[in-house]
Amino acid sequence: MAAAMSSSCCASSLRLIPFKRTLISSVHYPAKTLFFRPIPSFRRTIVTFQKISAGIVPPLSASSSPSSSDDLQPIEELPPKLQEIVKLFQSVQEPKAKYEQLLFYGKNLKPLDSRYMTRENKVEGCVSQVWVRAFFDEERNVVYEADSDSVLTKGLAALLVQGLSGRPVPEILKVKPDFAVLLGLQQSLSPSRNNGFLNMLRLMQKKALFLEVKAEEGTSSEEASVLEAESDSKPSLIEDLGTEEIEDSDSESNVDALGSRGMRIREKLEKELSPVELEVEDVSYQHAGHAAVRGSAGGDGETHFNLRIVSDGFQGKSLVKRHRMIYDLLQEELQSGLHALSIVAKTPAEV
C-alpha cells in the first residue's frame, strides 16, 4: 500500500477518513449513468484532527491502491494516458514532490486562446479562474484545451487535458472522478479546490457528450439544428458550444402557457418509450443568465430540462445511443427553443 501521504506527514494523526468516505458515498457513479446532478460541496467536511498520543490508528492513506476500497473504479478502466498519470503520481512519495509534478504538468500545458475564456467554458466552483474548451478531431476523439490563473489549478487542468484528450466520448464519460483519490493529490488539495477539480472533470465530460450529440444531429437529414449556429454535417472539428451565440431563427410564441413544452416532452416520452419511471424537471431558471436563452423562446422560455427515464426501451443500448434516442424524439422541441437536456436514462434492471 502506497502509504505515501501518511508516512511523510503526520504519522500519528487521523487522516482524511471522513473526507474520503464522503467522496465515495455521495459521488456514486455506476458506469452507465450520466451525472448531471450538482456535485455536493466538499468544503469543510474534515471535522477533527487530533494528535493521538497513545494507540496509533493506522492511517488510511487515500493514495492506496484500488484494491483497498471496492468503490473505486479499477485503474484499468481509465483512458491509457490517465492510467500512466495516476501511476506516476502514486510512485511519487513526498507531497511536495507531488506538487512539483503537478506544477510541471501545468507548465507544459498549451495556453488557451483568450477568445475561448467564455462563461460557458468557465468551471464553476473554483476559487481561481479555470476555463476548459473541447472540440472533435478528425476521428471524432475529443480534444481538450484549458487554462487557469492559479498554477496548482492549471496543473490539475493539465492533468485532465493530458489524460482525456484524444479519446472517444464513451471512454471519457466512463471516467469516475474518484480516480483523484488514486492520485493521492486529493489529500494535498483543500476541499474547495477539489470541488473545482471535480467540476472541471464534470464540465469536460458534459462538453464531450454535447459534442457527440451535436455530431449525431449534424449527420441527420434535418436542417440546421438549433444547437449550432453554422450547420456542418461533417463531424470534423466542430467547435464547442458556448463560443457561439445560439440563434433561434424560429422563435415560437407558443410558450405562453407555462409548462407547455414540459408537457409536450412528457407526452412524447411517455408515448414512445413507455417508461416505468419518468421525471421531467424544468431548470430553465438556472440558465436565465445566458444571453442565448434570453434571445430565444421568449423571455421565460422553457429551455433547459432535467430528464430521468427508466424504460425497457434502453435495453442493450449504449449510453450514447440512449441519449440519441431521446434527442431524436424531441427534435421538434430542440429546433424551437429547447437548448439542453440533462438525461439520466436507465433500464429497470439498472435502477
Binding site: 487530533q50 507531497p95 507548465k107 498554477v151 483543500s190
Partner: protein, 468 residues
C-alpha cells in the same frame, strides 16, 4: 508551553458539581475552579491572567482556553490566522452552551414552569450582557438575529422599505462587505432609492472628504463598516454620524470587525443602528444582533412574522409586540444567545482595552514582517501615528495566485489563511485584482504565530517561484 494539549475534563464530570445551577450563572465559574487549571476562563479569570502577565503575553495566556488551537494539521502545528472569518471559542463559552442544553433547556417567553423561567432569565440576561458590552442604554434596544447579515437585512426590509422614497440616497463605500451592499440593492430597487459609493483615496482607505461631500439633503441612510475586513482601516464613525444627522440621515454601522477587537460604545458613536456577529467574538455561530435606537425600532414594522412578535392574532389581522420582540419571530437560538452572553463575560473578563492594545502591537508586528518580504503588496493604509490598522493583512504576492499560496501554506505548514474575495468583490474589482490572501489575528494569536506564518510564506513563495 505551546505544544501541551490541555486535556479539559469531560462534561460528564462537571455534572455533579453543576447541579447547583439554581444559584445562577455564576455557578459556571464555581464549577471550573474545582479543576486544577492554572488559568480558568470566565468572569473570575481576570485576576489570574493579570498575575501571570509578567512573562507571558496575552496571546500565550489566552491560548490555554482554546483547545482547538492545540492540534496538528497535515503534519504541522495549526497556526490559525483566519479570525476575520470566524473566531475560536473558549471553553467557558462551550460549557455555557452545553450547560444550557444539559440542565435547563426550555422554550423562552412562553412557559410558566421552572425550566422555562430559568431559560428565559438566562436568555434575557444574555441580552443585557450584550447591551452592556456595547454600552447600549437599554437592553430592549438589542434585537437578536441569526447573524449580522440578517440584522442588516432586518433594517433594510423593515426600516428601508418604509422610509426610502424614489430619489432618496443611501451612501455606502466600495469596501463594504456583500451583506452591506446586496440588501440595499434589493431595497433600492423596490423603493426607487439610489445607492452612492464612496471610493478609496491613495492610502487605500475610503475617502472621508468624498463621503462628507456626498452627504446631502437627499441622503437618508449612511451604511458603512467600522473596521474593514480587507483594508484593516477604520472609519471615523462619530464624525460620520454628526454629518449624517445634520441632514436628517440615519447611520448604520457594520461593526463585525470592531466589536470583537476593541471597545465599541454605541452611545459615544451615537449610531442609529449597529450590527455584529457572535461567531467573530468568541461566541457560537447562529446568533448575532442588531442594536437600534429605541424610537427608531418602535417606528419600524415587523420583518419576519410568526410567534413571539405578535400581541394579538385574529384570522384577518394581528397586532404586534413591542421591540425587541417585534423583530424576533419564532423560537430564538436560546443556547447560542446564552453562550454569546458567556463570550461577552469572557472578553470583558480580560478587558477589551487590554485586548485592543495587544492587537495593535500584533497588527504592527504582522504588517512590519509581511511588508519586509519582497514582492508583497498589502492592501489598505500604512500604519502610522495617526493611522491604526486592524490586526489583519490582505495581500498579494507578485506573480502568484493567492489560492496557490493558501493551499501550500495549509498543506505544507499548517497555516490557515483565507484566499478569495472575502465577500468584497466590488472592492477587489476596484483594486484591480481577482482575489487576495488574508491573514487575520485575534487576541489568542502570538508573535510566534506571526513568525511561523512569515517563514511558511517565504518557503511557499520560493517554491512557486522556482517553477517560473
Amino acid at each position: 508551553m505551546e505544544g501541551v494539549a490541555m486535556k479539559l475534563p469531560s462534561f460528564k464530570s462537571l455534572a455533579p458539581n453543576a447541579i447547583s445551577i439554581a444559584a445562577g450563572h455564576r455557578s459556571f465559574s464555581r464549577v471550573r475552579r474545582s479543576f486544577s487549571l492554572s488559568v480558568s476562563s470566565g468572569a473570575s479569570s481576570s485576576a489570574t491572567i493579570a498575575a501571570d502577565s509578567e512573562h507571558l503575553s496575552l496571546g500565550h495566556q489566552a491560548r490555554k482556553d482554546f483547545r482547538i488551537l492545540h492540534q496538528e494539521v497535515n503534519g504541522s502545528k495549526l497556526v490559525y490566522l483566519d479570525n476575520a472569518a470566524t473566531s475560536q471559542k473558549p471553553a467557558a463559552v462551550l460549557e455555557a452552551l452545553q450547560n444550557y442544553y444539559e440542565f435547563y433547556n426550555s422554550n423562552v417567553h412562553r412557559g410558566i414552569h421552572y425550566l422555562s423561567a430559568k431559560a428565559t432569565d438566562e436568555f434575557e440576561l444574555a441580552r443585557k450582557k450584550v447591551a452592556r458590552f456595547i454600552n447600549a442604554p437599554d437592553s430592549r434596544e438589542i434585537v437578536f438575529t441569526r447573524n449580522a447579515t440578517e440584522a442588516i437585512n432586518l433594517v433594510a426590509y423593515s426600516w428601508g422599505l418604509s422610509n426610502l422614497k424614489p430619489g432618496d440616497e443611501v451612501i455606502l463605500t466600495v469596501a463594504e462587505h456583500h451583506s452591506c451592499i446586496v440588501p440595499w440593492q434589493i431595497v433600492s430597487q423596490k423603493t426607487g432609492a439610489v445607492l452612492k459609493f464612496v471610493t478609496l483615496n491613495e492610502d487605500e482607505t475610503p475617502d472621508i472628504d468624498m463621503m462628507r461631500e456626498m452627504i446631502s439633503r437627499k441622503t437618508k441612510l449612511v451604511a458603512v463598516h467600522h473596521v474593514s475586513n480587507v483594508l484593516a482601516s477604520s472609519l471615523p464613525i462619530e464624525d460620520i454620524v454628526v454629518w449624517a444627522h445634520e441632514v436628517g440621515a440615519k447611520v448604520l454601522v457594520d461593526a463585525c470587525q470592531s466589536v470583537p477587537h476593541m471597545v465599541v460604545d454605541v452611545q459615544k458613536l451615537n449610531a442609529d443602528f449597529l450590527v455584529a456577529s457572535s461567531h467573530k467574538m468568541c461566541g457560537p455561530t447562529g446568533i448575532g444582533f442588531l442594536y437600534g435606537k429605541s424610537d427608531l425600532l418602535h417606528a419600524m414594522p415587523p420583518f419576519l412574522g410568526g410567534g413571539e412578535m405578535i400581541s394579538d392574532v385574529f384570522l384577518d389581522h394581528s397586532t404586534y409586540a413591542e421591540p425587541p420582540s417585534r423583530f424576533e419571530a419564532g423560537t430564538p437560538a436560546i443556547g447560542e444567545a446564552i453562550a454569546l452572553g458567556a463570550a461577552c463575560d469572557y472578553l470583558s473578563g480580560i478587558g477589551m482595552p487590554k485586548i485592543h492594545e495587544y492587537e495593535v502591537e500584533l497588527a504592527n508586528y504582522l504588517y512590519e514582517k509581511l511588508s519586509s518580504l519582497p514582492d508583497v503588496k498589502i492592501y489598505g493604509p500604512k500604519p502610522s501615528e495617526s493611522v491604526r490598522r486592524a490586526a489583519l493583512c490582505s495581500f498579494n504576492v507578485e506573480g502568484l495566485h493567492p489560492t496557490d499560496l493558501a493551499t501550500f501554506l495549509d498543506q505544507q505548514h499548517g497555516v490557515a489563511i483565507r484566499s478569495g474575495h472575502h465577500c468584497a468583490q466590488p472592492l477587489h474589482r476596484y483594486l484591480g485584482v481577482n482575489a487576495s490572501a488574508r491573514a487575520s489575528l485575534y487576541f489568542y494569536n502570538t508573535k510566534e504565530d506571526v513568525d511561523s506564518f512569515i517563514a511558511a510564506l517565504e518557503d511557499t513563495v520560493s517554491f512557486f517561484n522556482s517553477f517560473k
